[in-house]
Amino acid sequence: MAEKRVKSRMLHSYLHDPSAIVGSVILFVFILAAILAPWIAPQNPYDLEKLSLDNFLTPPIWMEDGEAPYLLGTDDQGRGILSTIIYGCRTSLIVGFGVVLIAGTFGIIMGLLAGYYGGWLDAVMMRLADTFFSFSTTLMAFLMLGIFGPRGVFIVIIAICIADWVRYARTMRGSVLEVKEEAYIMAAKATGAGDLRLLLRHLLPNAIPPIFVVVAVDLAVVIMLEATLSFLGVGVPINEPSLGMMIAIGRNYIYAGMWWMIVFPGAALVFLVVGINLFADWLREELNPKIERRA
């Protein structure tokens, strides 16, 4: 009953918050485009057979010299900008969701254990978290990739996960520490529930709401991070699509006035991140304990 009421209240506030709707619609469109990339992109920019260098550096179609399949122009290899953006968003979203999933799962488990058992595990984890935090996720991921080298999307995900999981662990630990003191946990203990049951059935579901906000915010952060790393040349390798890489290539032609190679991928990236941030803003307000108490 109570569960249902919370859900319908959330739905209500969602439907009355235009920025939340806009944000989630943007995100949804991007996800859809990423999944359907092979069918909606005018060409496959990484199929070498279909690339033709004759079409390199074509401006967008509405400008003079614009050519038919390349709606937003082409880059220096003759890849259509629009197609590359669609495939690049695919990479962004794979990295984004991959990191959130892997780092999130690991962080939640670590946070649960550290918060529940305390002791040396907690001490070690918090110290680790503090050092990771003062070094910043960006710098850590950058150094990790410096060690691994640009070897593929999966390596990028792993490197960002190593730098990023502490964010989840920290939030989870704090939340567990709060929930642990509740009466129902003590009641469960009194009925003889084992550690595992206590952790999974009682602590996990009650301590997890704050994590949702972290997930939403982190998704935006990770997508920007992937673009930044790829821009610097330590992210995804050169033969895979990435928005950051596109902008890095476009940068070489900045003085030639070929703005389309930077502006379009940049706009795609910003749209995606703004969409996620709008949604995250709404989620944060919604799950804020202060507001919940009032309701």
Binding site: S134, F135, S136, G250, V274
Partner: protein, 305 residues
């Protein structure tokens, strides 16, 4: 306060990330050296111990590429990064907090809604994109600001500064703004949220009721309490600032430490990378201590307690 400082020190150094990282690098370094001259295949822990010993004595080895002391190489670049980062930080702090206060006072005015939308853009545009767009607009199309380099610099003792020439300052504007952008937006949002919360408190109403001038109510009573989380967050973000400095320096070809790091990474110049990491850790620790002290100054409980 002194105790907290000491605890902080011990805490930091015990959990020093740098040692582990240096260890990781040392194994690679070992591999390199084994490949180069077959005599140096000592076990990893010996290498690591030797590295620690040398590092503790300020000897970080020589750059593989340029054969100059790695520490010297980095210190030579330090002033450029320092000037860039401090300018950016001041910019972010002054503009961010200032605008945050303005927006919080009249949250629903059209102009202020525009500022908030801008701040959402600020946290949604990655630093490298900000930099490139700024170059495009101000350097390529308008041609009023230089797109790269540090311009004319003046040597003052060991410090090479760009503050003293007009050219140097012109070169500083774009990169500093690029670096400041993200932090500016974060601080703006934080200040606004804090101010809106504080302005509804009883003691603010009391201050207004006493007939204090608005300036005094806003800055002395309200802002001061908002500053505590703002300064804390600024402190927590130093790492990010340094990371983004790498990005900014790359885009503007700013001759600083971050730029050097990236080149060294491409060239697998490990001593330079390791030294950079060690030095960065040292800088972050120092800055965190400064924030701790600052925090105590702002927090009246510590000050009057």
């Amino acid at each position: 306060m002194a105790v907290s400082l000491i605890c902080f020190f011990i805490f930091r150094y015990m959990g020093d990330p740098v040692m582990t990282m240096a260890g990781r690098y040392a194994t690679f370094q070992e591999r390199e050296e084994v490949r180069r001259s077959l005599g140096l295949d000592k076990p990893v822990h010996v290498q690591y111990a030797r590295f620690l010993w040398n590092a503790a004595h300020g000897n970080f080895g020589k750059s593989y590429v340029s054969r100059i002391s790695a520490l010297g190489l980095i210190l030579e670049r330090f002033p450029a990064t320092f000037e860039l980062a401090t300018t950016a930080l001041c910019m972010a702090f002054c503009i961010g907090v200032g605008l945050g206060v303005v927006v919080a006072l009249k949250p629903y005015a059209a102009r202020n809604r525009l500022i908030m939308a801008g701040s959402l853009g600020g946290i949604s545009i990655p630093t490298f994109l900000t930099g490139i767009l700024l170059i495009m607009v101000f350097a390529v199309y308008l041609g009023i600001l230089p797109p790269f380099g540090r311009g004319e610099t003046v040597q003052v003792g060991f410090w090479r500064t760009g503050f003293l020439t007009l050219d140097g300052i012109m070169h500083l504007i774009l990169p500093a703004f690029t670096l400041a952008m993200y932090q500016l937006a974060v601080l703006l949002r934080l200040t606004r949220a804090g101010m809106r919360e504080v302005l509804t408190e009883e003691y603010i109403k009391t201050a207004w009721a006493k007939g204090l001038p608005p300036r005094k109510v806003i800055f002395k009573h309200a802002l001061r309490n908002v500053m505590i989380p703002v300064v804390t967050i600024t402190g927590l973000q130093f790492g990010e600032l340094i990371a983004y400095a790498i990005v900014t320096e790359t885009i503007f070809q700013w001759p600083g430490m971050g730029n050097l790091l990236l080149t060294s990474m491409y060239e697998s110049d490990r001593p330079v990378v390791v030294t950079y990491v060690m030095l960065t850790a040292l800088i972050i620790v120092t800055l965190n201590i400064i924030v701790d002290i600052l925090y105590a100054f702002i927090n009246p409980k510590i000050r009057y307690g």
